[in-house]
């Protein structure tokens, strides 16, 4: 084909005439004119000839000519010109081999098929063929075009194609199918039921590629079918981080709606909290239980959503950040809201349009929760280069944020704005000052005085706005401000803006009693100029006259009559009407009757002061971040956010029973296949073969067991080995192995290390049970010692088949596995191992060299496991009674304090470690006001206990507090204060106290462990003291060192424990494998530092002989 720019050059030459014509046409259709369509028609005759030659080109045999013709046609379409008459010529090329030509034909088809339905049908068979193409890109684009052709006759064909594509092996094609659902739905809404079926199927899809698109389809086709989400809820939450950014936005919005129907409000909690804060904190624990029949506990699924969306605040995509922010706004407990602030403020650096939307949302938020944005007040300062609507929004937010503390800063800033050259903005500032003045009574006078000064401003709009605002302010407290009214009367002559004049006159009339001397004089002046005034001013003159007549008729009777006469003959009927009405009302005559008696009460009725409030006051009736919120009116298709249900619907609907897929034999196989999938995806160059292989390998995986997998997968190389080693530098090594042994094992080790962590740890279970021979290898220096030993054991299995079989059984989460299955496995193993020994597998496939252990674990993180939900916090197994000294009575001048770790989840914050503090007074006089000083020196977040007002001599009291150690053993330093003294104290947490226990199934444990290999693993071999060997003592030792939960183990000599770090929630997995008299401790955690510290402590605990 011809190259791009060559084409475009020739196109331009030809197009030069055309563009001239073009310009003429477009000029005729500039602003306001609707005639562009007509203009195109008038030009059509000119186009016709050119189209003739296009037709010829399309019908020629040369691809290059066809392509050029198509490019010109696309150019026509882009300009909005009609090229529909070329349809027959174009559609012939739909089956072209040239992919670019084909694509351009697709563009054309999608544009014109609706107009030329019969002809469009000619192309359908081509697409149907392409739907079966082995190339997934072709399948996908065929479906895209087919579903974009808006021809009702092909609805059944589309339906069929979508159903087929929804089960396609390629996730890309499935994604296209999800898009096609929406297209078909808008073409024929009657297909809804069938489409919902497809959506239901696709919602179950585990590919991150599909998730966003199918949720989009869900939102469009059946947003009310919330029941379809239940089973997929946890999956979507877990998947969210890895979905492409656009999908994230859609999913987050959908989940927001979902959560509002499924969970109870977390906001109630805050109210309770506040209430209890009044009382002393230490006993609130018990009290609350009494008071509150049912304390609020957040549904773990609710928490899951909040937790999994939080990292997305760091997204570079502003729409994602906004989506998460609105989710937190609508779903999070109020005290957790502050985390969105920074991210929203960050968005203000983005493009003008982004600023606009974000500022609007902040404006709404800042009304309800000033505190959120107050620290960032300066980020809302206006720059002279901001666009006007940005300025106004910033002003709005600053006004919302104003309080007693910051008002002076804000007013100083406002002073600059008032002088702005942008007069509309200056006027808006004056209104803002007025709002501040009414909201904060302390500054009302200051503001008023400032505004009065502005009355002498040269700019009319500023003056007018000031007068109007002053008028509103004065209405609140007129009696104190008669001098201001006088001042305004003096300025009256210089003010020309009608609105301002009218406002002053109204003020005069309304408060004429406060300015008895001046008001009649003003009226006198007005009588002179009445005829030259604007209508709005005239009306106020009439009003003023009437009011003065009622209060001071002696002085003003004649003036009033004069003015009423003028008004009677005014050109404006409003004024004539008003005059007539006023005259009847105030001037008593026989006809007027009862009404004039009440004239005074009618005209001089006290008028309520206007409420100055934000324009964003009621905006929060719309979900934040939506179009409706931006427009402040309901956009079509807006889905209401429901109120929280009073009682949470059944939670169990979201439970996903762990169904084993039929074709796969057992849980390990399932895991295996997933691992394979993700890895292959990652490498895949040519999708199709891989797809097939995927299937193959998964089924293979299901029939094979641990160690031969290592062979089938061992196409990897030293590389990963290297990186394994380098990255494991932090882990504890216990290399006590001899060199010679190492050499012997090198070959094997290499291969073993290449195994997927998944298979490794499964073998580990095997290996740990095997006794002496494998132990020597387990010390082989590199980090995954246990895995080697394990595989060793696997290789020995054929010889000691009995014990091997037993162990095999154990490795399966489902010990029900039948025996024949195992036998088959063993056979395979033999052959593979042989092969392994004699012909070393050729090293290096460069593809996989990228696999750093880190990446591997990342990849695994992408998988959705139906069982992640099984990670549940559990209660501590063991709570040590030992308390540590915080403050000795000598140093504390009689006050002594001890602390101990309660090992309970902290009630003050999820990332805090809960502590119990016992304070006792050993002096002979009462200590008063014991509290923790506000300033904490080390920056940890500390939840203080409520001050203890009085502690009698020899009395002691126990309080609880929370400290966020941030997953580090750095001591928390703070000041413990009494009324007289301050004592610096520090709490040094043992590493084990930074954890919380969790429970999980053994299978989950193994799986999670598999994700945390490499540098995330640290292990050590120790020699156990004899008394520690019993299972109870191991358990006791371990749980006394660290606050972790015991995982039921199906193997006798392996003990497993699981916990998570309090602050970040990272998993910490501990396993202890006993091999008389030695034991291997393995710790898997992302927090390598914690891991190695723990390891050290376990080592000491388990080798220590004292109980």
């Amino acid at each position: 084909m011809l190259g791009m720019s060559a084409n475009s050059v020739s196109y331009n030459e030809q197009g030069s005439v055309e563009s001239g014509v073009d310009a003429a046409q477009e000029n005729s259709s500039i602003p306001g004119s609707f005639s562009s369509g007509g203009a195109a028609f008038s030009l059509f005759s000119a186009d016709c000839k050119k189209n003739e030659d296009l037709k010829e080109m399309l019908e020629s045999n040369k691809e290059s000519l066809k392509l050029e013709a198509m490019k010109r046609i696309v150019g026509l379409i882009a300009k909005g010109k009609n090229a529909s008459e070329l349809f027959p010529a174009v559609v012939k090329n739909v089956a072209s081999k040239n992919i670019e030509l084909k694509k351009l034909v697709y563009v054309y088809l999608v544009r014109y098929a609706e107009e030329q339905q019969d002809l469009a049908l000619l192309s359908i068979s081509t697409f149907q063929r392409a739907l079966k193409d082995p190339n997934q890109l072709i399948r996908a684009s065929a479906l895209r075009v087919l579903s974009s052709i808006r021809v009702p006759i092909i609805v059944p064909i589309m339906m069929l194609a979508i159903k087929e594509a929804a089960t396609d092996l390629s996730p890309y094609v499935r994604k296209t199918a999800a898009h096609a659902i929406q297209k078909l739905y808008s073409l024929d809404p009657d297909q809804k039921e069938h489409l919902i079926e497809v959506i239901e199927k696709l919602l179950k899809d585990k590919s991150t590629l599909v998730a966003g698109s199918v949720v989009m389809a869900f939102e469009e086709v059946c947003p009310d079918r919330i029941d379809l989400i239940h089973k997929n809820y946890r999956k979507l939450c877990n998947l969210l981080v890895d979905v492409e950014e656009w999908g994230q936005v859609v999913i987050i919005h959908m989940l927001t709606r979902y959560a509002r129907t499924q969970f109870v409000s977390p906001w109630r909690e805050d109210a309770m909290f506040d209430e209890n804060n009044e009382k002393a904190f230490y006993d609130s624990e018990e009290e609350r239980k009494v008071e509150q029949t049912k304390p609020y506990i957040m549904d773990p699924d609710h928490r899951l959503l909040l937790r999994n969306t939080k990292p997305l605040l760091q997204s570079r995509n502003t729409a994602v950040v906004m989506a998460v922010s609105q989710l937190y706004w609508h779903l999070a407990p109020k005290h957790e809201l502050s985390i969105i602030t920074k991210s929203l403020v960050r968005l203000l650096r983005s493009h003008r349009e982004v600023q606009y939307v974000v500022l609007q949302n902040i404006a709404t938020m800042s009304i309800q929760r000033k505190g959120m944005f107050e620290p960032f007040m300066k980020s809302f300062y206006v720059r002279s280069t901001d666009a006007t609507h940005i300025k106004t929004l910033k002003l709005e937010i600053l006004t919302n944020l104003a309080n007693e503390a910051n008002i002076s800063t804000i007013l100083r800033e406002f002073q600059t704005y008032v002088k702005s050259q942008d007069k509309a903005f200056a006027a808006a500032t004056i209104q803002a000052i007025g709002r501040c003045a009414t909201n904060i009574s302390e500054v009302t006078d200051t503001c008023l005085n400032g505004l009065v000064l502005l009355l002498s401003n040269r700019d009319e709009t500023v003056v007018a706005e000031s007068v109007v605002v002053i008028k509103k302010l004065l209405q609140t407290q007129p009696s104190q401000h008669s001098d201001i009214i006088k001042h305004m009367a003096k300025l009256f002559d210089n003010i020309t803006v009608p609105m301002a004049r009218a406002s002053i006159l109204w003020l005069m009339g309304e408060y004429c009693e406060h300015v008895p001397k001046i008001a009649p004089d003003v009226l006198r002046k007005m009588a002179k100029t009445f005829t030259n005034e604007e209508d709005i001013v005239k009306l106020q003159i009439v009003n003023l006259a009437a009011k003065l007549y009622l209060t001071n008729s002696k002085q003003t009777k004649l003036l009033t009559q004069y003015i009423l006469n003028l008004g009677k003959y005014d050109q404006n009927y409003d004024i004539r009407d008003r005059t007539r009405f006023i005259r009847q009302l105030i001037v008593p005559n026989e006809k007027s009757g009862a009404l004039s008696k009440y004239a005074r009460r009618i005209l001089m009725a006290p008028k309520p002061a206007p409420v100055l409030q934000s324009a964003f006051k009621d905006r929060d009736r719309f979900q934040l971040g939506t179009l409706s919120h931006t427009l402040n009116s309901q956009a079509s298709g807006y889905l209401e956010l429901s109120d929280w249900p009073a009682v949470a619907p059944d939670q169990s609907v979201r439970n996903v029973e762990v169904v084993e897929p039929v074709k796969e034999a057992g849980a390990p196989a399932l895991r295996k296949s997933k691992t394979a999938k993700s890895n292959e995806k990652f490498y895949s160059d040519s999708e199709e073969e891989e797809e097939e292989e995927e299937e193959g390998s998964s089924s293979e995986g299901s029939s094979s067991s641990s160690s031969e997998e290592s062979v089938s997968e061992s196409e990897s190389e030293e590389n990963s080995d290297d990186s394994n080693k380098s990255s494991s530098s932090q882990s504890e090594k216990s290399s006590s192995e001899s060199d010679s042994e190492k050499k012997k094992k090198t070959l094997k080790n290499k291969k073993l290390q290449q195994q997927k962590p998944d298979s490794k740890d499964r073998k580990q279970k095997n290996g740990n049970a095997v006794k002496v021979e494998s132990r020597s290898e387990s010390e082989s220096g590199s980090e995954s010692s246990s895995s080697e030993s394990s595989s060793e054991s696997g290789s020995e299995l054929d010889s000691d088949s009995d014990s091997g079989t037993d162990q095999k059984k154990n490795t399966k989460p489902k010990p029900v596995q039948s025996k024949p299955f195992i036998k088959q496995v063993e056979k395979k193993e033999v052959s593979l191992l042989d092969l392994d020994d004699f012909s070393p597998v050729p090293v290096t496939t460069p593809k996989s060299s990228i696999l750093s252990p880190n990446l591997l674990s990342d990849l695994q993180g992408l998988l959705i496991s139906p069982t992640t939900s099984a990670l549940q916090a559990s209660s501590p197994v063991f709570v040590p009674e030992t308390s540590h000294e915080l403050l000795h009575r000598m140093t504390g001048k009689g006050l002594s304090a001890q602390y101990r770790f309660t090992r309970q989840p902290c009630i003050y914050g999820n990332s805090m470690v809960s502590l119990q503090l016992t304070l006792s007074n050993s002096s002979d006089q009462a200590l008063e006001n014991i509290h923790i000083s506000e300033k904490s020196s080390t920056g940890q977040n500390i939840h203080r206990f409520n001050a203890i007002e009085r502690l009698e001599p020899q009395a002691s009291v126990t309080v609880s507090m929370g400290v966020d150690f941030n997953d580090s053993t750095q001591a928390a330093n703070f000041q413990l204060c009494t009324k007289e003294d301050e004592f610096s104290v520090s709490i040094q947490p043992a590493v084990g106290e930074l954890l919380l226990p969790i429970t999980m199934s053994e299978a989950d444990f193994t799986k999670e462990q598999g994700k945390l290999m490499g540098m995330n693993e640290s292990s050590a071999t120790i020699t156990m003291t004899p008394e520690n060997v019993s299972s109870q003592s191991v358990n006791r030792k371990v749980v006394s060192v660290a606050n972790i939960g015991v995982i039921p183990s199906s193997q006798e000599n392996i003990y497993r424990f699981a916990g998570k770090t309090v602050s970040s929630g990272s998993l910490v997995l501990v396993s202890v494998a006993l091999k008389d008299p030695d034991a291997v401790i393995t710790i898997n955690t992302e927090k390598t530092v914690i891991g190695s510290m723990l390891l050290r402590q376990f080592k000491t605990a388990l080798t220590n002989s004292c109980p």
């Binding site: 882009a78 919005h253 666009a387 990228i850």
Partner: protein, 445 residues
């Protein structure tokens, strides 16, 4: 939809169906119009049924009402549609929306479209778009399916549609190959969609630019009202294969609020404050960060000014002197001062000690290209302004906007500690550059 008892021709039925399209919520982006500065639509693209370009009349109305091009509201409601527009490079990208959608979703997407055009054509101008209309169309087709973003990652798009280059044009002419990829880009399916596979370079290099911008408002007296630092790390990575990089900082605590390219492993950052990532190929923004206004920000330049207008006189004085302040010994370069003088100013007669200045009597924009600040001899601009005869004294002195650059310095003090590569064997060439720039740096006078 009314039920007709009589059989109706299929075309009518179709028309009726089309009507229901409008009733049922059709989400996301319906059509896109590109409008140039003079208010002409020069390109249109529809992803669903065609929307008449007359819908843009509502946009033109708003355009007329706005005093400045930037003042057009980004979201404009019309009776049946909503128009969401962004303005970049003096082109309005107007998206037509039919129903509820998060506005930022559309805005972000439109900006992504502009970025892609810029990436492909070097510039995003009307001429460039018109010249490459076919590529533009192919791109838009790939980026959006049924109004929902499909492929916005530049690495993926480049595999689908090759950017036009002169060399490729020649090659294509000879060999007859096309600019359109025949295979699904591997990135689409992989877990690292941002990186294409099979990357090969003879020189393996990775460059990182730490660029910090200072946003500040300085008041009359020279004290800082607000100052914050906005930083980005832009990377240009040309490495073979699948490198896995880690980048660590000497002082990561400085980074107050960060947003990442999707390639960065968030958990690693949370836990260790280390950036660990498999980079995209080519140029990308690795991270942007914020050093908050709570921290003390060094202000590298100061301005001494004396701008005054006397009441009753038609003359005004203008004096401006710039000097370096906290620059850590580095030179302040590429200094450009601009100011919007009050409307009453007719002309300015100034004398710069260095550089050149211009004053546009129509827009009243004064700009002074200073160049480098020499601490020994401070640059100054002095002279008089003539005001409209009889016009009153302007109430506000103009705000002065300053731009500058300081090479080899990150003003926040951020320092990259080390950059390591795993997963590949070769030794890459690594480079890190620091730069400080003025962002929105304003001095009130």
């Amino acid at each position: 939809m009314p039920n007709h008892p009589v059989p109706v021709p299929s075309s009518v039925l179709a028309a009726l169906k089309n009507k229901t399209i409008h009733l049922s919520a059709a989400k996301m982006i319906h059509s896109l119009f590109l409008v140039n500065a003079s208010g002409d639509i020069f390109l249109e693209k529809h992803w669903k049924s065609v929307v008449s370009r007359s819908v843009c009349d509502y946009f033109f109305e708003a355009l007329e009402r706005a005093t400045e091009p930037e003042n057009v509201p980004p979201v404009i409601p019309t009776p049946h549609h909503y128009l969401i527009n962004v303005l970049r490079h003096r082109i309005y990208f107007v998206a037509v929306i039919q129903s509820e959608v998060p506005p930022l979703f559309v805005i972000e997407f439109l900006h992504r479209v502009v970025d892609t055009f810029q990436d492909y054509f070097g510039v995003c101008t009307e001429a460039a778009i018109k010249d490459n209309v076919v590529v533009v169309y192919e791109l838009l087709e790939e980026m959006l399916d049924n109004g929902f973003p499909l492929a916005t990652e530049s690495n993926i798009l480049k595999e689908l549609i090759k950017p036009p280059t002169i060399l490729r044009t020649v090659v294509n002419t000879i060999t007859g190959s096309t600019n359109v990829g025949e295979q699904l880009p591997t990135g689409q399916l992989s877990v690292v969609p941002w990186r294409r596979t099979g990357v090969k370079y003879t020189n393996n290099e990775a460059y990182f630019d730490v660029i910090e911008e200072i946003d500040a408002i300085i008041d009359k007296s020279g004290s800082t009202i607000t100052a914050e630092i906005q930083g980005v790390i832009d990377a240009c990575v040309k490495l073979t294969g699948m490198p896995d990089l880690t980048l660590s900082f000497m002082n990561p605590r400085l980074l107050d609020d960060v947003s990442f390219h999707p390639c960065v492993r968030f958990k690693r950052w949370e836990a260790e404050r280390i950036l660990s990532f498999i980079p995209p190929d080519g140029n990308f923004r690795l991270l942007s960060y914020h050093v908050s206004s709570q921290n003390l920000v060094a202000i590298p330049v100061y301005v001494k000014h004396n701008i005054s207008f006397r009441e009753g006189s038609s003359q005004g004085r203008f004096e401006l002197t710039l000097g370096p302040k906290q620059t850590m010994g580095k030179a302040v370069e590429s200094v450009l001062v601009s100011s919007q003088l009050p409307r009453g100013v007719l002309n300015a007669n100034l004398n710069p000690s260095q550089g050149t200045y211009t004053f546009d009597p129509v827009t009243k924009l004064l700009s002074w290209d200073v160049g480098k600040i020499n601490p020994q001899k401070l640059p100054s601009l002095k002279g008089s302004m003539s005001l409209q005869a009889g016009a009153s004294k302007p109430d506000e002195n103009p705000t002065i906007n300053i731009q500058f650059k300081i090479q080899q310095l990150a003003i926040s003090g951020l320092k990259v500690n080390r950059l390591d590569m795993y997963g590949e064997k070769y030794k890459p060439f690594k480079g890190i550059k620091y730069m400080t720039k003025a962002g929105k740096f304003q001095v009130r006078t």
